[in-house]
């Protein structure tokens, strides 16, 4: 093609295009990450100084049963929240992909709109809804109070944390699912229905298998930020709603133990990288259609 740039011949153009993002990446992502990574091999010396001593003590401490237990619990929490997101998001994404084009835009905006509101405000809004004398309980008691339906004690529990996590991360699941479902060849579904499959069967034997790449990226996109959440457990949770990110946050603030916090954070990072690599390998095995 005539208008296609040849990178081999136009090296300066290539450098001009690649330079700024690469510089940005190095300066504001790679370098800070390297510093924190170096901290994870450091020792606190004095009140405010960290000596990079090359010790593995921080990782050894991070692998103690106490912290592994918290990590395990966080993984379970994140897995459950991701699963709920998938179950809720799939019908939503399916409905959006089958909606008329004009409505589709509005529905997508509806999904993305919460992103325009700050996470903290959304979490406080949830507090106002869930708290013992909040909107939900006020509505419940005024509607069903005659039937003896009392206020629900949801606030400050693991249940509240789960509601918060699912609410906040739902768009991360809906959007990749929608992207996969929207590209789906509709004639395959018609064929399934013509050949006598019910709607449910058509969804599970035709739609779901074809949407697997979207499901996988949705799972990954949701699971990773959920695992790193600390606002929901802090503000919505009860005495035992601590997740690994809360522990990490406290090391950098109250405990003032940056090396240990860095080791915990990088433990999480190694796990995440492992997850992404696993997903990439699974996608490579899948034949390209």
């Amino acid at each position: 093609m005539a208008n296609e740039l040849d990178w081999h011949r136009n090296k300066s153009g290539f450098a001009a295009l690649l330079g700024p993002p690469l510089g940005w990446f190095l300066l504001f992502f790679a370098v800070p990450m390297a510093v924190v990574w170096a901290y994870s091999f450091g020792t606190n010396s004095g009140i405010a100084d960290i000596e990079i001593s090359g010790t593995f003590a921080n990782y050894a401490r991070a692998l103690e049963p106490l912290y592994l237990g918290i990590l395990g619990k966080s993984l379970a929490f994140a897995a459950l929240a991701t699963l709920i997101c998938l179950i809720v998001a799939f019908p939503v994404a399916l409905a959006i992909s089958f909606a008329p084009p004009q409505l589709k835009t509005w529905l997508l905006i509806g999904v993305m709109l919460p992103f325009w509101t700050n996470l903290l405000i959304r979490t406080y809004a949830l507090i106002a809804i869930l708290r013992d004398e909040g909107l939900l309980n006020m509505a419940l008691t005024s509607a069903f109070g005659w039937a003896g339906v009392g206020p629900l004690a949801i606030m400050n529990s693991n249940m509240a944390v789960m509601i918060g996590l699912v609410y906040v991360h739902l768009p991360f699941m809906v959007l990749p699912l929608y992207a996969a479902l929207d590209r789906l060849d509709r004639s395959l579904i018609e064929a399934a229905l013509d050949l006598g499959a019910g709607h449910v069967r058509a969804i599970f034997t035709i739609v779901v298998p074809l949407a697997v790449p979207g499901i996988l990226s949705g799972l990954l996109l949701t699971f990773i930020p959920v695992l790193g959440s600390y606002l929901a457990p802090d503000l919505l949770g009860g005495p035992d709603s601590q997740m690994i990110a809360n522990v990490i946050e406290r090391q950098f603030k109250r405990a003032n133990d940056w090396p240990f916090g860095a080791a915990l954070a990088f433990l999480l990072m190694y796990l995440t990288l492992f997850g992404i690599a696993a997903q990439a390998m699974m996608q490579r095995k899948r034949p390209v259609d």
Binding site: A48, R131, P239, R254
Partner: protein, 384 residues
């Protein structure tokens, strides 16, 4: 909120306007401790912060500007404007939510703050880390207004690096109609199922351990490993009775009816007691932890002379009175207190008295090892 403000280290225009928005939204939603009048004041302060921060984006040490790093809603409604009128210096305010955030921000070098407001233990810690300038008391003549009992402080031995701004004591804030008598013991928070599911404790590890030690009849300073373990086991036993470990928003939980007893500071409870007469405060008879917030000049402050002038201005009797009127915290400023009405001077929440107060202690800075031990202990409690 602590978390969010911590994240927004580079406060530009957008963050400032966000701050104004968040304040109106979440305060409204969560039935904040602030009355409407002071809510408007808080938003006004946010508005000022917006314009100043928008104008003062440059980092040059212009003489007509001062960078003040403090707690949110912790100054008189018009104090900063009054200072500008008196001196021609604009004060640009940024906020932190915890001492740790302040410490973390300054740890890597002062980004340009002239005056900061750390608590007493952090004064010790920042002095040890060589992060504070010694104050030139000649330039702060209004120090004479400070009550004698606050002039000398173990946390900041001579030469002075701080002057006290407010002081606080942790106690139990409670809803009178739902509690039997006066809950004047830490027992009700640490060691009893009488108020199951209706109590909230702080999430500050050091406070939890130290006040637990106090309940066990020991000093809150120099807590040994065995006592830490004992408090930890007590808290694990007590956990089913605890509704939550609050993030310094205990007063909101109490006001909204989520809990009936809460571990909080007297200043925070005094603010909501104005809105709700059913709320009271007690310093448990075993004694508690005294804290002070102080004014300091961090090393590397671009305008130390101006910073001294600002600190002196804040210690003025009339200025101090206006600040207290707005924030309603206990003041160490005797001259300012004398100008306040009877209702403040004799307010039993702002100035608690009795056995508990007499048994209370100032917390000393324990050093990084103890901090880590407290932290890990509470992590175990919460994971249990």
């Amino acid at each position: 909120m602590a978390d969010f403000t911590g994240a927004s280290s580079w406060r530009g225009l957008s963050q400032s306007s966000w701050r104004g928005l968040s304040q109106s939204s979440w305060r409204g939603l969560s039935q904040s401790r602030l009355s409407r009048r002071s809510l408007m004041a808080a938003m006004g302060v946010a508005g000022i912060g917006l314009t100043l921060e928008a104008c003062g984006a440059g980092k040059e040490a212009a003489a007509d500007k001062l960078n003040f790093y403090t707690w949110d809603t912790y100054i008189g409604e018009t104090t900063l404007a009054d200072f500008e009128k008196a001196s021609g210096v604009r004060v640009s305010t940024s906020y932190f939510a915890t001492n740790d955030e302040l410490f973390a921000k300054l740890k890597a070098g002062n980004p340009g703050y002239d005056v900061i407001v750390p608590s007493n233990e952090f004064v010790t810690r920042m002095r040890l880390a060589d992060m504070l300038l010694p104050l030139d008391m000649e330039k702060i003549p209004n120090f004479k207004n400070i009550a004698p009992e606050f002039r000398d402080a173990d946390y900041d031995p001579a030469p002075r690096h701080s002057v006290p701004y407010t002081w606080l004591v942790i106690g139990i804030g409670y809803r009178k109609s739902r509690v039997n008598g006066t809950p004047d013991s830490w027992k009700w928070l640490y060691d009893s199922d009488l108020y199951k599911g209706r109590i909230a404790l702080t999430s500050e590890s050091a406070d939890l351990i130290r006040l637990g030690a106090k309940y066990l009849g020991r000093s809150l300073n120099g807590v040994d490993a065995a006592t830490v373990k004992q408090v930890e086991e007590m808290l694990i036993r007590q956990k089913p009775n605890i509704k939550t470990f609050h993030e310094d928003n205990g007063q909101d939980l109490l006001l909204a009816g989520d809990v009936d007893l809460v571990m909080e500071t007297n200043g925070d409870i005094a603010q909501i007691a104005i809105e709700d007469p059913d709320i009271a405060f007690v310093v448990p008879r075993e004694g508690s932890l005294l804290n002070a917030d102080t004014l300091c000049i961090p090393k590397g402050a671009p305008r130390p002379d101006l910073a001294h002038r600002f600190i002196d201005f804040l210690l003025d009797a009339e200025v101090g009175r206006h600040i207290i009127e707005t924030i309603l915290y206990p003041t160490p400023n005797a001259a300012a207190k004398a100008l306040m009405p009877e209702s403040y001077r004799t307010n039993p929440i702002v100035f608690p008295a009795g056995t508990g107060m007499e048994a209370s202690e100032w917390g000393a800075f324990e050093g990084p090892e103890a901090t880590r031990r407290f932290e890990e202990s509470i992590t175990r409690v919460r994971a249990a």
